[in-house]
Symmetry: C3
Subunit: 105 residues, 3 copies
């Protein structure tokens, strides 16, 4: 299994979730976060915003579903401007479902 | 070391923490999150709740404590209904304690 | 790549970010969390605070930048008292930048 953490623009949430659903990926956890990239925020007129509101979506998928999940997220979250976000993929050793007691590796 | 991320019902927080304490696991970090599983939320009457409030508990344990932590969480978080949550176990390469400078692997 | 999750005192955020910038590490994501360590919160007079507000900083760095990032965080977050926090280092398999389509491993 893989854990995918995607940092996206909050306004892209709906598009990203619908794109994931079209790939039959439904489960997700989300957290409001603040973030910035290498360019350290944005300047609008005279005002510098050092940190921007982002949404962190956490999804856990089987190894062979990881690429399609990344494709779905990146396609739906893309605008082409700074701040589109990042997708982090990390290894997951075990996933335990509390209701059923089922374990997946 | 392992990092355990448990997504649980918020109302089970007290039970889960007490169960972990009974196993001498005290340290934890928690975050309010929204989430949904494969069934995409719940329907109550005519209203569909696509996302539900959950609590993400993050705990880091030694490899040989991981199973008892998972057992404690899943026992205390269980109701038998959809939405009981998931427990994710991922590898942790190093844990550094800022106050003491101590490193654990 | 490595993912560094640092749980620090919220009031140390500015110092930690400036120290990371002095090492040319600019990108970060942050989340407000509640946490406690082995000592289970603090007692102030008669009042016990079981959980304390912390900041979780998430940064992703190349393997050879990990040590300097940990050094920067731990130096700037240190007070010497309980509650200075922890730094967790976990493996990251892939990082995808949505705007450019670039992948780093």
């Amino acid at each position: 299994m893989k854990m995918i953490k995607a940092i996206i623009r909050p306004e892209k949430e709906g598009d990203v979730l619908r794109q994931l659903e079209s790939e039959e990926i439904y489960g997700m956890t989300k957290v409001d976060v603040l973030g910035r990239g290498k360019q350290r925020g944005v300047q609008v007129g005279d005002t510098i915003y050092e940190e921007l509101s982002k949404l962190m979506l956490i999804i856990v998928v089987k190894d062979d579903e990881c690429q399609k999940a990344v494709n779905a997220i990146s396609k739906a979250a893309f605008t082409g401007h700074y701040g589109d976000g990042k997708i982090f993929i990390s290894p997951m050793e075990e996933v335990y479902t509390i209701r059923t007691g089922e374990t997946q590796t």
